[in-house]
């Protein structure tokens, strides 16, 4: 159980600032997702926590102990954490089993114990039978799973994941999500999870941190982030929402202002006989429904999930069941 | 008659081994630690030790007398005036007993058997038939070659002009004796100036070379041996010198294929009778004094 605290942390690479004034707390046992567009500093933040980068300013603490500030730094090997890299970072000179067993070595486990745990970790990621394979001869997704197993094998109390599921198919992904949820529940580890996939973030995390341009945009539960985004960036980034003028008069939660924007989620849009007139701009099949982009009279676009295929240019009328006044 | 003896020598490997073995056979209590190398290397080693302040050898046994003379002038050699010199011609050894001649290694002419002109004298090397076909050790690289050069220029009537004529005839001066033998037996050059034992020994094995003692006479190095002042085992060193100068030691030289320095010891096979070998005179002290001038003179003539 380890609480991770970042206090006014900043990080620059030469002249360019990757992170600015980040103050965050990851409570012990929490499961936090870092969400944000490419290049917003998610990986950098994770590397600061892991100890691969030293903050330019501010302090990183684990459970009150200073891990790093502007002058000192506890090296990563003494922080006792697990990490999955975006690039996997598997060791090409070891086979799959050796890669996974590596963190167990030098911790006083017997051979049989190491083998047992390794097999267990490989089973968790459905790679039983791949023990003796060279990692160079694995497919992309297989490699990612090896990296995952390597991180899970020791049962550390801090787990850092940098887009651990980016190369997995939906099913493996779902299975992995379950592995994480289980691990989390079982060990109570503090998990920080970088992702660009909001559905992952929404489904898994108990807290989501949205980053943009190296700054924190919003911190909150998935429901809060999705339902009540703190600003236009979050509103636009999380979920497939449409930001439209408040002047359309959609009933909106939050502090309404006629000059601001309101956020409308696709599932809140229905076609009715009586709604606002709109025309169909674009269609995209998603399996469950057709993601349909509608243009309102003033040119605002609205995305709706419709059960049936509409023709491009078709005139329809829309009603909005729910909307959120986005703070300016 | 026990303890060790450190010997630095430029004798060939096998000869050095035989010499040490023979001495140790005679004095089983004494262990000879010998190091052999080419004269430049062994002297560089010794000089480095000197510079570092801890010279190692008790005895030096090297090819040329000029180097010995230099060491003597620097006061590095121990005089062994009581050495038993019976059977040696007058003037062969250093008069103060600083160093002693152990054998005679003469320098004459070698030719490849494919050569059309068979040289008999040094003068023959300036003939047009030898144009571009002469190899000789460079006195700049080899001390023995320097002695040879000085001996010839002192004794031949032309003096240095002989060397100018050689240079004009395209003679090539480089390296040591080993290279000359390779060049002549390999046929790259037809004639060479070289120490006697190498071609005589190789010819016996069938190499296409022959050695000539030129009519004017030959130069000789005497492979002098000396005790160093810094010697840790001076008594053993004296025993070693006595051994080399003894009849037994001289027979060893014969058996190795060298002309022994001591009169009355037979010459090895392949050599003419001792009386047919005319050794030209040589003044080591003068050579040392003029060493740099001689080198400059030679370098000038051969453009080195």
């Amino acid at each position: 159980m380890t609480t991770i605290t970042l206090d006014a942390v900043g990080k620059s690479f030469g002249d360019s600032r990757a992170l600015t004034d980040i103050s965050l707390q990851f409570p012990a046992g929490s499961f936090t997702a870092l969400l944000g567009p490419s290049g917003c500093g998610k990986t950098t933040l994770l590397r600061l926590i892991a100890g691969f980068e030293q903050p330019t300013m501010g302090v990183v603490r684990f459970e009150g102990d200073v891990m790093a500030d502007g002058t000192r730094m506890v090296p990563p090997e003494e922080r006792n954490l697990g990490i999955v890299f975006q690039s996997y970072a598997l060791w090409p000179h070891m086979d799959v089993a050796a890669n996974v067993a590596y963190p167990l070595k030098g911790r006083g486990f017997g051979r049989a114990e190491i083998e047992r745990r390794t097999a267990e970790a490989l089973a968790m990621v459905s790679l039983t039978g791949y023990e003796r394979r060279s990692v160079d001869a694995l497919s992309g997704g297989q490699r990612q799973r090896v990296a995952l197993a390597r991180c899970l094998v020791t049962g550390t109390m801090i787990i850092l994941l940098d887009e651990p599921l980016a190369n997995l198919d939906v099913h493996l992904r779902a299975a992995m999500l379950d592995v994480f949820a289980d691990t989390h529940k079982r060990t109570g580890a503090t998990i920080v999870f970088v992702t660009h996939d909001q559905s992952e973030a929404l489904a898994l995390a108990d807290t989501i941190v949205v980053l943009d341009g190296g700054r924190v945009q919003q911190i909150g539960t998935p429901e809060k982030i999705y339902g009540e985004p703190a600003n236009a960036m979050v509103a636009g980034f999380v979920g497939r929402g449409s930001l439209v003028a408040a002047s359309h008069g959609f009933a909106a939660r939050g502090s309404a202002s006629s000059r601001g924007k309101v956020l409308v989620r696709p599932h809140a849009v229905r076609l009715t006989e009586t709604g606002l007139p709109a025309s169909v701009l674009r269609l995209r099949y998603t399996g469950a429904s057709y993601e349909t982009t509608l243009v309102l009279a003033n040119g605002d676009t609205l995305v709706a999930d419709l059960p049936t295929r509409r023709g491009i240019g078709e005139e329809v009328r829309v009603t909005v069941d729910d909307a959120w006044s986005v703070p300016a | 008659q026990e303890g060790t003896l450190v010997l630095y020598t430029s004798q060939p490997q096998t000869d050095a081994q035989q010499t040490a073995d023979a001495f140790m056979a005679k004095y089983p209590g004494i262990k000879v630690d010998w190091v052999r190398d080419g004269t430049p290397q062994i002297m560089a080693k010794f000089r480095s030790e000197l510079e570092a302040g801890a010279p190692q050898p008790d005895v030096l046994l090297i090819a040329d007398v000029v180097t010995m003379e230099g060491l003597k002038a620097e006061g590095l050699l121990l005089d062994y005036a009581d050495a038993d010199l019976t059977g040696y011609p007058e003037g062969l050894h250093d008069e103060d007993g600083a160093y002693f001649s152990t054998k005679l290694i003469t320098t004459g002419i070698v030719y490849n058997t494919a050569a059309t002109m068979i040289p008999a004298s040094w003068e023959d090397l300036t003939k047009p038939e030898a144009q571009g076909q002469i190899a000789m050790p460079s006195p700049l690289t080899s001390g023995a070659a320097m002695i040879h050069t000085v001996t010839l220029t002192e004794n031949l009537p032309e003096g240095w002009d002989f060397y100018s004529a050689l240079a004009a005839n395209g003679a090539q001066a480089a390296g040591g004796n080993g290279g000359i033998l390779t060049a002549v037996s390999g046929g790259e050059k037809l004639y060479g100036m070289i120490v006697d034992y190498m071609p005589i020994r190789e010819a016996a094995k069938g190499a296409p070379v022959k050695f000539v003692f030129p009519t004017e006479g030959v130069s000789a190095v005497t492979e002098p041996v000396a005790i160093l002042k810094s010697a840790q085992n001076p008594d053993n060193a004296k025993l070693f010198i006595d051994f080399l100068l003894s009849e037994e030691g001289q027979q060893l030289a014969t058996s190795q294929g060298y002309i022994p320095a001591r009169d009355g010891v037979a010459l090895p096979e392949g050599y003419p009778d001792r009386s047919e070998i005319k050794v030209l005179s040589y003044d080591a002290a003068a050579a040392l004094a003029n060493d740099q001038a001689n080198k400059d003179h030679f370098a000038e003539i051969f453009g080195q």
């Binding site: 892991a50 100890g51 691969f52 030293q54 002058t71 000192r72 730094m73 090296p75 090997e77 006792n80 954490l81 697990g82 990490i83 890299f85 970072a89 598997l90 060791w91 590596y102 030098g106 160079d136 991180c151 | 060939p12 490997q13 081994q17 630690d33 190091v35 190398d37 080419g38 004269t39 430049p40 290397q41 560089a44 000089r47 480095s48 030790e49 510079e51 570092a52 302040g53 801890a54 190692q56 490849n112 494919a114 571009g132 700049l140 080899s142 090539q172 480089a174 004796n177 290279g179 390779t182 002549v184 390999g186 046929g187 790259e188 037809l190 190789e202 010819a203 094995k205 190499a207 453009g303």
Partner: protein
């Protein structure tokens, strides 16, 4: 706890190693060269520099080393590509054979080539092509020296480059081919620039090897009155007056300056600090119809640079004396019997050379990774400077390094006592001389290991030592083994360092060879060379047997 301890300690240790291996001997030479009876005195150095012989030798050294290095690159690089990146038939055998020239001492190589092309050439003689007796050997002089530098140092280029090529992932190559680039364009646009650190390392090593070579210019240059600094120094030593050491030391400083200039040029070429190369399936080119033509061309080249001179050596070793034509009547094994059976020193020398060079290779290979890693903590400028310093003892003629070692280690030192007259002084000299051979390839390899490899291990709880042992070392192993082989083979045949440092019963192969050469016993020298090649081939074959248990890419020919 602090970042400083983590970064500065390895760097300091690395600097210490470099100081001991390189700065120490060089500093000792500077003292000898410049400190006269009346304090520091630059006048003699300047006077020496002004002599036309010195200037000519400087020019010759630069000239032959540079073109020799380029020729070595021209020979070694295509082989490295063919062996590492293509499906050329017999590529393992070819990679193996190409290593052999390094195992033959330069003197012997030179001798073999001279035999091959001289009037007594058995080979040319058979076809009636041998030059008439009295014809000067065509190899004498500049061209021959450059040619032999190229041949002798091609294996260095080959090994260094191959270490890089095996780490090249196929995606880089395939991305270029998909972009429409023909294989040769891929080579020029992608592979060569990606491997630039390896190329520069190879070129630098080949250049410096040329600067420090004595054997080849001694045999091919001196007879033609063509002097390099190394042969000039050798000649100087023959003067052996009391002032010889300072003079030799001065010339050595000139050599050091040349090597520094060459190395500085190299770091100019290395504009960036390098870049990490992702790992992945290694790249492969299919030669298709060119498979056998390439193999045959390779074998032909190998025949010229290895087999023919080797045959010449064998021929010479089978006749009773150099210059005798080989025939049914003259053939004899007497030379082998003489050196192997009658001279106990030869077998001893084989053993001594084997364990001294083996030990040197082992120590250098093991320490190259930590040292190179430590140096990586330094700013790029300082780093390349220190690497340059390590190259210097390799650039000096061996005999000069040996003198420096005597000056350093003759007097008993605290803790270790006097190394003089023990084999260990030879070992130390080997470590000094060949450190560059081990460090260069390893440094090039380290630059291309992605930092995440080590970071992942740190996150797994591995401290810096464990990371070094379990991650960095194995990943750099191919380069380290390549370096070790270079060290071993160079030291096994080395003559000039041990010539001054050997003591009774501690003779090395080089010492024996030199003495035979000096005595004009070329036939016996050839016999030893042939045996040497055989011994090393057997050693390599044993290594090859073990090769299946080593990580991929470790053995340069696999």
């Amino acid at each position: 706890m602090t970042k400083l301890a983590g970064r500065v300690t390895p760097a300091l240790l690395a600097i210490l190693v470099v100081a001991i291996l390189a700065a120490l001997p060089l500093g000792r030479l500077v003292v000898t060269a410049l400190v006269g009876p009346s304090g520091i005195d630059f006048a003699p150095l300047l006077a020496r520099l002004m002599r036309s012989a010195t200037q000519k030798a400087i020019f010759n050294t630069l000239d032959t080393s540079l073109f020799g290095a380029l020729l070595a690159l021209a020979i070694g690089a295509p082989f490295a590509f063919l062996v590492a990146l293509t499906d050329m038939p017999l590529r393992r055998a070819q990679g193996f054979l190409l290593l052999l020239p390094l195992m033959i001492a330069p003197q012997v190589t030179a001798l073999a080539y001279m035999q091959l092309l001289g009037p007594s050439s058995a080979l040319l003689g058979t076809f009636g092509l041998a030059p008439a007796p009295g014809t000067a050997n065509p190899l004498l002089g500049r061209g021959g020296i450059i040619l032999l530098y190229g041949v002798q140092h091609a294996p260095i280029v080959f090994i260094t480059l191959r270490a890089g090529l095996t780490a090249l992932p196929r995606d880089y190559v395939e991305a270029a081919r998909a972009a429409g680039a023909k294989p040769w364009r891929v080579l020029l646009d992608v592979i060569v620039p990606l491997l630039r650190p390896y190329f520069l390392a190879a070129l630098a090593l080949a250049f410096v090897s040329g600067v420090g070579n004595l054997g080849i210019p001694a045999l091919l240059g001196m007879p033609a009155n063509y002097f390099t600094l190394a042969t000039l120094i050798y000649q100087q030593l023959a003067g052996n007056g009391p002032s010889v050491l300072p003079q030799v030391a001065m010339l050595s400083l000139v050599i050091a300056a040349i090597a520094i200039a060459g190395i500085a040029l190299q770091s100019l070429g290395q504009s960036k600090t390098g870049f990490a190369i992702a790992r992945g399936m290694p790249a492969r080119f299919a030669l298709k119809t060119w498979r056998w033509p390439a193999a045959i061309a390779g074998l032909a080249l190998i025949s010229i640079i290895l087999i023919l001179p080797l045959l010449a050596l064998v021929t010479t070793s089978l006749v009773p004396a150099y210059g005798v034509r080989l025939s049914l009547y003259t053939v004899t094994l007497d030379n082998y019997a003489e050196v192997l059976l009658r001279q106990a020193s030869t077998t001893r020398a084989f053993f001594n050379s084997f364990y001294l060079s083996g030990l040197a290779a082992l120590i250098l290979a093991l320490s190259a990774v930590p040292v190179a890693l430590g140096l990586r903590h330094l700013p790029p400028r300082a780093r390349s400077g220190l690497h340059g310093l390590v190259d210097l003892p390799y650039a000096l003629p061996g005999i000069v390094l040996a003198i420096a070692c005597i000056l350093l280690f003759l007097r008993p030192l605290p803790l270790i006592g006097s190394l003089y007259n023990t084999p260990w002084i030879i070992l130390v000299a080997y470590l000094m001389r060949f450190a560059a051979l081990a460090l260069r390839p390893v440094d090039a390899a380290l630059g291309q290991i992605p930092p995440q490899m080590s970071e992942a291990a740190a996150a797994a709880g591995a401290g810096s030592w464990r990371r070094l042992l379990t991650i960095t070392l194995p990943l750099a192993a191919p380069a380290a083994v390549a370096g070790a082989l270079l060290v071993f083979m160079s030291a096994f045949n080395e003559l000039t360092v041990s010539a001054l440092l050997w003591s009774n019963r501690n003779e090395t192969l080089g010492v024996i060879l030199f003495s035979l050469d000096e005595a004009g016993l070329s036939a016996q020298a050839s016999a030893i060379a042939v045996v040497t090649v055989l011994v090393v081939v057997i050693l390599l074959l044993i290594l090859n047997r073990l090769g299946s248990r080593l990580p991929a890419g470790v053995l340069p020919w696999r």
